[in-house]
């Protein structure tokens, strides 16, 4: 338990070193990885896994994963990014993914928040309300 906590704390320090302001900087991450490679700490793999998790979480905060069924114009993607950036008060970039299971519509995921206007979720919710 103590060991886990030490690894987590160390990973948090590494994350701080990897950030430029509130954003994760690729250059700094590279520097951190090189330094770790050069002087491998105890529990190297566990530390890297904890570090990866924290970085993923930080990146997810400024990335909107837009899943869509059918075509999605670049204007729509830009509009989504602009809207979300204004909402969260930080720059949000978008990553698009085609997902036919949505049937139609969009599903946007930013960190823990999900904005779902897909037909599949509407049908699921309709099914739940009728059962």
């Amino acid at each position: 338990m103590t060991q886990d906590k030490q690894i987590k704390d160390f990973a948090k320090q590494l994350l701080k070193m990897s950030q430029d302001g509130s954003d994760v900087s690729a250059e700094r991450v590279d520097g951190v990885l090189k330094a770790l490679d050069k002087n491998p700490p105890r529990h190297h793999i566990a530390l890297l896994k904890a570090y990866l998790k924290l970085v993923q979480r930080e990146v997810a905060k400024s990335t909107a994963v837009v899943s869509h069924a059918g075509a999605l114009s670049s204007d729509a993607t830009e509009a989504i990014a602009a809207e979300l950036s204004a909402k969260y008060g930080r720059a949000i970039s978008t990553v698009t993914r085609e997902d036919s299971s949505l049937i139609a519509g969009l599903r946007v995921v930013v960190d823990c928040d999900v904005y779902d206007s897909s037909v599949s979720s509407a049908l699921t919710s309709l099914q739940a309300s009728l059962s």
């Binding site: 995921v109 823990c112 928040d113 904005y115 779902d116 206007s117 509407a122 009728l130």
Partner: protein, 510 residues
């Protein structure tokens, strides 16, 4: 049919036009009825979490990276990576009179196969107890129908009176007797058409009990006609620890509805030892630090916040009340164990049941020396006070002297008299299970005891004599019983009538 179609169309229209925002997370681990979830950044303490398949959980551990949630109901279909959603709602259960006569689970869903329950309102399961300003002193009696309790350890509406004892000493029986007595009083009171009559509705919460025991209790309530005034919340031993943890709070929410609407309710928690054990199980699985007897540090708060919700509120807040009868099972009569001491300190008194008394055939096996009611005497009927004032003292003296009873011939006359009287009082208080006695009959019999009418009756015949006297009152002196019930005190007129009636009975009995 067209309205159903419109409803569906409306639902589709609503869903088509807006994006649904939700805060989500992913299950990292799931096991032993507990899920650890990564994400859920906006989860609140005690918030309902929605899992796939409509399964519901409660967020109990809000950690830096994860949320620990206990799953209510079936969890076998959940797996790592499944999405969990915040609902933004605290766990609520249906409340209202529609629940009377029904058996529900910890979520308020029917368990008795009598169909859906059409409740109009819901109350949150966790609620802050009424504050000082909203409360009022306990000043109305709650009759249990058990002579030993109503005369020596009186309970008032809004009081928390613990029933404590070893296994098989009749704890549940006392609680069930009290529920049956409320139903009997309700029937008489409602039939009388008295506008000031305040019925007491009961809630029986069964935690961690065998289903057969719950079925037996239900059978008794139904047979005695008490089920129509009772809600049964059942979280049996086969239920998950989460449901057993939740059930008392569910019952409290249902009771609070009666209190909030200016009515009186009685809630029985049967029992809080098993409730604490269920909470310990949950806490250990959630990896909370454990303390004495492996219970988590907040096990006191677990019960104090539950029992504080029982209260008598003042006129400005509806003048309702919620009386609690929590039950605790001890091991080998050890009152100093962790959970018993906790609950003793929270409640306003306790009824202690002794195995030895039970085995001697003294039932209910109430230990007079260790039982106490801290606030009930303020609510005791004047009539009962008049006839039972000295009985507790006489009985306590008898218990002290009983050790010398074996030297019978060497005792002085005064001690012998005390022993004789004590043994008669003990006999008088013997009462069969599920047979509560109306207060006016209790008053009549105790008046006769106080006025030495039992002194020349053989000790072994006291129970029969008391039964015969009650039958006599019911069949021949109905008007006298009614006036005791209505006046609630013994004035000169009633005393005279009692004297005449008891003299008449004595002649016929001997």
């Amino acid at each position: 049919m067209s309205s159903v179609i419109e409803q569906i169309e409306q639902q589709i229209a609503n869903l088509q036009t807006k994006a649904v925002a939700s805060n989500t997370g992913k299950i990292v681990t799931v096991g032993d009825g507990v899920a650890k979830i990564d994400g859920l950044s906006e989860a609140m303490y005690n918030e309902m979490i929605e899992f796939p398949g409509g399964t519901i959980g409660i967020a109990l551990n809000l950690e830096e990276d994860e949320v620990g949630a206990v799953i209510l109901g079936e969890a076998n279909h959940l797996k790592e990576g499944d999405e969990a959603k915040c609902t933004g709602k605290l766990l609520s259960v249906p409340v209202g009179k529609e629940l009377l006569g029904r058996v529900v689970n910890a979520l308020g869903q029917p368990e008795d196969g009598k169909g859906a329950i059409d409740c109009k309102e819901t109350f949150p399961v966790e609620k802050i107890a009424p504050g000082i300003i909203e409360r009022k002193s306990v000043d109305q009696p709650l009759m249990t129908g058990i002579q030993a309790i109503d005369s020596m350890i009186p309970i008032g509406r809004g009081q928390r009176e613990l029933i404590i004892g070893d296994r098989g000493t009749g704890k549940t029986t006392i609680a069930i007797d009290t529920i049956i007595n409320q139903a009997n009083i309700n029937k008489v009171g409602l039939a009388s058409g008295d506008p000031d009559f305040r019925p007491v509705y009961s809630i029986y919460v069964a935690v961690g009990q065998k289903n057969s025991n719950v079925a037996r209790t239900l059978g008794v309530l139904e047979e005695k006609g008490a089920l129509e005034y009772t809600i049964v919340v059942s979280a049996p031993a086969a239920d998950s620890a989460a449901n057993q943890y939740l059930a008392p709070y569910t019952g409290a929410a249902m009771g609070e509805w009666f209190m909030a609407n200016g009515m009186d309710a009685l809630i029985v928690y049967d029992d809080l030892s098993k409730h604490a054990a269920a909470y310990r199980q949950m806490s250990l699985v959630l990896k909370r630090p454990s303390g004495r007897e492996a219970y988590p540090g907040d096990v006191f708060y677990l019960h104090s916040r539950l029992l504080e919700r029982s209260a008598r509120v003042n006129e400005d807040n509806g003048n309702g009340s919620l009386t609690a009868l929590p039950i605790i099972e001890t091991l080998a009569g050890d009152l100093s164990a962790y959970i018993p001491t906790n609950v003793i300190s929270i409640t306003d008194g306790q009824i202690f049941l002794e195995t030895d008394l039970f085995n001697q055939g003294i039932r209910p096996a109430v230990s007079v020396g260790l039982s106490v009611s801290r606030v009930g005497s303020a609510a005791q009927l004047k009539a009962t006070k008049q006839v039972a004032g000295k009985i507790k003292l006489e009985l306590a003296q008898f218990r002290e002297l009983a050790a010398f009873a074996q030297f019978g011939s060497d005792l002085d006359a005064k001690t012998k008299a005390q022993l004789d009287r004590g043994s008669r009082i003990v006999e008088l208080f013997k009462q069969p299970a599920f047979n509560p006695i109306p207060i006016e009959q209790q008053v009549g019999v105790l008046w006769a005891m106080q006025n030495n009418y039992f002194d020349d009756i053989d000790v072994s015949k006291v129970v029969g004599a008391a039964d015969s006297m009650r039958d006599f009152f019911v069949s021949r002196k109905e008007a006298l019983l009614t006036s005791i019930r209505e006046k609630a005190k013994i004035d000169d007129e009633i005393a005279e009538q009692l004297k005449t009636a008891v003299d008449e009975w004595k002649n016929s009995f001997s």
